[in-house]
């Protein structure tokens, strides 16, 4: 043990004396701190802005004057997705999905105004998010610091001296590994601070600690890769060139190849194309605005029988409201069926891309980080589902008011006497307030299990390779 | 007096505020084997590099065939064949391919049979000719490099520690070859720290110490320079 710490301390001294490594650590740490601060501010602003928009949207809805209830169905409502606490480190798909959905009757709108759509287009490759820095750049920094760990000793011939003196090579490698990991952990400090902050801001401690552990695993993996390659190489320059090539492959190429392959292997029809089928289905249901549509003949008959009357005028309820409610229900079933199908397709596409986590630790960590922090596609889908639930509830409540409060006579004469065909604004209270929360800690952790497994797999692979490399030295 | 091929006069070289060569003077005549002898850090390699135009002189002048290293380095390099201390050619190329490559760098085209003749002359075993150079021993690499120098047909040969790391047989073969070349009119300039080797081969030895030429020894009528004499001068200098 003493030997190991001795080696580690010696390595630190070397980095301290050769300014290059020290410079990289400083630059890396400053970059991560800067990005964490900037991103925290940005996400806090976004959170407050969206919360504020949510409240004002609700207030606006409630402030509407007395109206025909169906006007309110079309007036609609906005819901906003507030970012999850950990999005200060891992914004995930936030910038690429719309963050607001307009809810109205008879339609499921898609989320609108994705940030990237109005961005300068400069951040398609890189972004100043801590997650990009930690997932893509920190491995490069570890390479720059550690490529010569063992090759340096080889070039100077010192490793031969150690081996012939009977010094265990494992101690040497372990010492250097600990030194390199410690060095990389420095760049992880801002993440740890941010995670602690997130814990105090209501994120479960289980989530934040798993989140940090994922990144620590990643650093263990990369430090291992760097050390293994350095041990297997005979010269500094070959070790360096191989590591940079590996970095390009694992951090930049494979993740993108994954997303391109997923798009090519499991193409989705797109919402527009699915809409044709949706519309076709919906036309069979009849137009809920038109109570005389033959599609509602059966409904009419049933009601007439039920209330034992001869015409819709004699019904105790507003038949137009009943039709609106009935058709909304049928329509929502169809819409949800297609929406679910689309979400499943999207998710299976994303999952193909995530499978590449077995080929690169970067994708493994990215999937892990997104699912744990609640910024993955699943969370966005959950937002869409919750928004849909809210939409259905308030639309049906309004339709209920339409059926039970507004009289049929006033309703059919609404164009002649607009003022009579209204209900009191008190009925707008049916809108329940919306505040989006990501999935529970348990759900997110269960979801991330396989990606955590990928990271673990990588750690095992790296340790096996390291073992092989050490054997080669002896 | 014979034709003067290499001349250094009042040559000074300073690098990073350190004086490496301090007022060095010598000249080498055509067909002569001249050895610059010195310990580690005496300035031997710097002298060689100055003559090759790799390090610029700070003061004084260095000239080869009456052309200054400052102005006509391309001409000088075309006349000089240089044999570095440890010859490292491209490991992934064979001996013949390496020679071809370097010759074409010097803008010389040689037929394969020319190359083979040169390899015979330096006594490189034939089975190695078409093997990757990474399999060569140090002596074999040296031989390939000499073959290259021969093929360049250069009137001047620069040698840097030519016999270090060679076994005694190889050294004998090498010395013989150099002597033959000199007899044919090639001027040989070598730097070395090997007192015995220098005395064996050189016509004249300049003793270099801390950037200064501190002694000059000639063979005169003997078959070689008196080793004892040079050795005592060398060790006296190096003890201080």
């Amino acid at each position: 043990m003493k030997a190991i710490t001795k080696v580690a301390r010696d390595e630190w001294r070397f980095w301290h004396r050769t300014k290059l490594a020290a410079t990289i650590i400083v630059i890396g740490t400053i970059l991560t701190i800067a990005s964490a601060v900037i991103n925290t501010i940005k996400m806090q602003e976004a959170m407050h802005e969206r919360q504020h928009l949510q409240q004002s949207s609700e207030a606006q809805f409630l402030d509407q004057p007395d109206r025909h209830p169906h006007r309110m169905v079309h007036y609609g409502h906005y819901v906003f997705r507030t970012p999850s606490t950990l999005s200060i480190i891992e914004p995930g798909v936030d910038a690429f999905t719309g963050t607001a959905v307009f809810l109205e009757g008879h339609r499921q709108n898609s989320a609108m105004f994705a940030e990237q759509r109005q961005a300068s287009g400069m951040t398609r490759f890189s972004s100043l998010t801590p997650s990009f820095l930690l997932q893509v750049l920190v491995p490069l920094f570890i390479i720059l610091i550690g490529y010569g760990s063992v090759t340096r000793e080889k070039e100077a011939g010192t490793i031969n001296i150690m081996v012939t003196q009977g010094f265990n090579v494992w101690y040497l490698i372990l010492g250097k590994y600990i030194a390199l990991v410690a060095c990389a952990l420095l760049m992880l400090l801002p993440l740890i601070v941010a995670a602690i902050w997130a814990t105090f801001n209501g994120e479960s401690a289980l989530i934040t600690s798993s989140f940090v552990s994922g990144y620590i695993f990643y650093i263990l993996v990369w430090s291992g890769i760097v050390l293994a390659v350095s041990t297997l190489s005979s010269k500094n320059s070959t070790s360096f060139a191989s590591l940079v090539a590996i970095w390009i492959m694992l951090c930049i190429l494979i993740p993108r190849i994954g997303s391109s392959s997923a798009a090519a292997l499991a193409p989705t029809a797109g919402k527009l194309e699915a809409d044709f089928s949706v519309l076709e289905e919906l036309r069979k249901l009849g137009d809920g605005h038109n109570a005389t549509d033959p599609a509602f003949e059966q409904l009419k008959k049933n009601l007439l029988v039920k209330y034992n009357v001869d015409s819709v005028e004699d019904l105790p309820i507003n038949f137009r409201g009943t039709v609106a409610q009935y058709s909304e229900e049928k329509l929502t079933i169809v819409l949800n069926q297609f929406a679910e199908k689309r979400m499943i397709e999207e998710l299976s596409q994303a999952k193909i891309a995530r499978q590449l986590g077995w080929l690169t630790p970067t994708t493994a960590l990215r999937s892990f980080s997104m699912t744990v922090s609640g910024t993955s596609l699943e969370t966005h889908h959950r937002f869409l589902r919750e928004a849909e639930q809210l939409r259905y509830d308030f639309v049906q409540s309004l339709n209920n008011a339409h059926q039970n409060i507004l009289s049929y006579q006033a309703d059919i004469n609404r164009h002649k006497d607009n003022a009579a065909a209204r209900v009191s604004a008190d009925n707008w209270q049916v809108l329940s307030s919306f505040s989006f929360k990501p999935d529970t800690a348990q759900t997110r952790l269960t979801r991330s299990l396989v990606y955590g497994g990928q990271l673990l797999f990588w750690l095992v692979v790296v340790l096996v390779v390291l073992r092989f490399a050490v054997r080669r030295v002896r | 007096m014979q034709e003067e091929i290499i001349a250094a006069s009042s040559l000074c070289v300073r690098l990073n505020n350190q004086t490496i060569l301090d007022n060095v003077n010598f000249n080498v005549a055509k067909g002569e084997i001249f050895a610059l002898l010195g310990g580690n850090g005496a300035g031997k390699s710097t002298t060689l590099k100055t003559l090759l135009g790799i390090v610029p002189p700070s003061e004084g002048s260095a000239a080869v065939m009456n052309k200054s290293v400052k102005t006509d380095i391309d001409f000088i390099r075309s006349k000089v064949a240089y044999l570095p201390e440890s010859v490292m050619l491209y490991g992934h190329l064979t001996g013949v391919e390496n020679i071809e490559y370097f010759l074409s760098l010097a803008d010389i085209t040689c037929s394969e049979s020319d190359i083979e003749r040169a390899l015979v002359r330096v006594a490189l075993q034939e089975k190695a000719w078409r093997q990757p150079m990474s399999n060569y021993s140090k002596g074999m690499r040296q031989k390939a490099a000499i073959a290259l120098a021969l093929l360049r047909d250069a009137p001047i040969l620069f040698l840097d520690e030519p016999t270090s790391g060679l076994d005694p047989n190889a050294i004998d073969e090498f010395n013989q070859l150099i002597a033959t070349l000199a007899a044919e009119g090639t001027t040989v300039f070598m730097v070395t720290h090997d007192v015995y080797g220098a005395c064996q081969i050189a016509h004249r030895i300049g003793l270099l110490d801390h950037g200064k030429v501190v002694g000059m020894f000639e063979r005169g009528d003997q078959s070689h320079i008196n080793t004892e004499e040079v050795h005592s001068a060398f060790s006296k200098r190096n003890k201080r």
Binding site: Y78, M112, F125, L128, A241, P255, R256, M370 | -
Partner: protein, 427 residues
């Protein structure tokens, strides 16, 4: 000695280096993959558009046949608009994965519809696509650095440097021709799949040529930079790895930091209305109209369409012309915000094009997607196309609403057709 014979010698020399061949083969395979995935993406977009056109026509004809007045015909019929990928789009998917390239619109207020997107899978967009433009703009500098950083230092470290320099007649030519040969091999590995792709998609000679110029220009920039740096005093005493580290730092600065910082600067420099505000304004205007006196709508409507001032008298029941008039008014009320929003997007794009001069990778990326017409500007042009088409629809329907009254299905065959206008000079 001629430069040609130098190149010839170095080509022969290069041909014997196994590890370099492996690198070039890898790059060739990557380029093939990039081109393949680009072609697969654009082909699927083209076939999707073809399918959509067909379905759209059938769908509309079916809907129109059931209508009995022009108002309902306009209300229930959708119209497909699209922006088909240019022949060059396979090389640079550009912004096509975040901006929509297909849209179905109705006669309702355009502001309420145009922000709907049928965008790609956000998680895939987030991971980023691997297209030819990415290979050329981001990875190519890394390849050049990997190839050339040790052009001199590897010879120094192997002890061959002095021998090479003293043997070679003109040493600058040696390094130069080595760099040229390696970069040519790199270019060939990159470009061959691209040319095959361009032939396959029948891209015009001019755009293919422009694309190649950009690729070669970017290679030249990095070759010059790397060669200059390796020849500089700063690099003389450094090891290969240190030289490469410094070059990587340059790459990091221009490929990562400059874009990120420019983005922050651009966000600060351009203020844009919130997209949500446009929708809100439009929604308030349209919904309020139901409860306002008719005159409120007509005043606003006639201010832009005075020619219909004699057609505004209303009957006792709901009238479509009034409905579409307040849709129009909704657009008019939101138009100021909406214009500002689009101007902001264009301004950001414009600023980005200036900032891109600081970053060769960004510049390359932008040039390539501009040649392929997949940039923000092209997306904005498509949006304008939609707006123009929507305007044509209005111009077609208004006379029907305000003058004729009996529905005639034959009239519907005169509906304006959407055409995918592209800039003629490109594509």
């Amino acid at each position: 000695m001629s430069l040609f014979s130098n190149l010839h010698r170095e080509t022969k020399f290069l041909a014997k280096q196994r590890n370099l061949q492996l690198l070039f083969a890898t790059i060739f395979v990557l380029s093939c993959f990039a081109v393949w995935s680009g072609i697969s993406e654009t082909t699927s977009q083209i076939t999707t558009i073809e399918r959509l056109i067909e379905k759209d026509t059938i769908d509309r004809e079916g809907v129109l046949a059931k209508q009995s007045d022009y108002g309902s015909a306009a209300y229930y019929s959708f119209h497909l608009t699209y922006s088909s990928p240019s022949n060059m789009a396979f090389a640079a998917i550009g912004q096509r994965d975040i901006y929509p390239w297909k849209h179905r619109i109705r006669m309702l207020a355009i502001e309420g519809q145009i922000y709907e997107t049928d965008a790609d899978n956000p998680e895939l967009s987030f991971l980023g696509r691997f297209d030819f433009a990415f290979l050329v703009s981001v990875l190519l500098p890394l390849f050049v650095i990997l190839l050339l950083h040790d052009i001199r230092s590897v010879e120094r470290e192997a002890g061959r440097y002095d021998l090479l320099v003293t043997t070679s007649k003109r040493q600058q030519r040696l390094w130069f021709s080595r760099a040229i040969v390696m970069c040519s091999a790199l270019s060939i590995a990159l470009i061959l799949p691209f040319i095959a792709g361009a032939l396959y998609t029948q891209a015009s000679l001019a755009t293919t040529g422009l694309m190649l110029l950009v690729v070669l220009g970017h290679i030249t920039i990095w070759m010059t930079l790397t060669l200059t740096f390796t020849a500089s005093k700063a690099a003389v005493k450094q090891s290969s790895a240190k030289i490469a580290s410094m070059l990587l730092a340059v790459w990091l600065a221009v490929a990562v930091l400059v874009p990120v910082i420019s983005n922050i600067a651009i966000e600060k420099m351009v203020t844009s209305p919130k997209g949500g505000d446009i929708l809100l304004t439009q929604r308030e205007a349209v919904n309020d109209a139901w409860d306002l006196p008719y005159s409120a709508t007509w005043d606003e409507f006639l201010s832009t369409h005075p020619q219909w001032k004699n057609g505004i008298d209303m009957g006792p029941t709901f009238e479509w012309k009034w409905y579409y008039a307040f849709q129009q008014v909704g657009d008019q009320k939101a138009s100021k915000l909406s214009n500002a929003y689009r101007e902001a997007t264009l301004k950001k794009d414009k600023l980005a094009s200036h900032f891109a001069w600081l970053s060769p990778p960004m510049l390359t990326q932008r040039l390539m997607s501009s040649i392929a017409q997949t940039d923000t500007y092209a997306a904005m042009r498509y949006e304008q196309n939609i707006r123009n088409y929507h305007k044509e629809l209005r111009e077609f329907y208004y006379p029907l609403f305000f003058t004729e009254n009996t529905f005639n299905l034959d009239k519907m065959s005169e509906l304006p057709k959407f055409s995918d206008h592209k800039e003629k000079s490109k594509g």
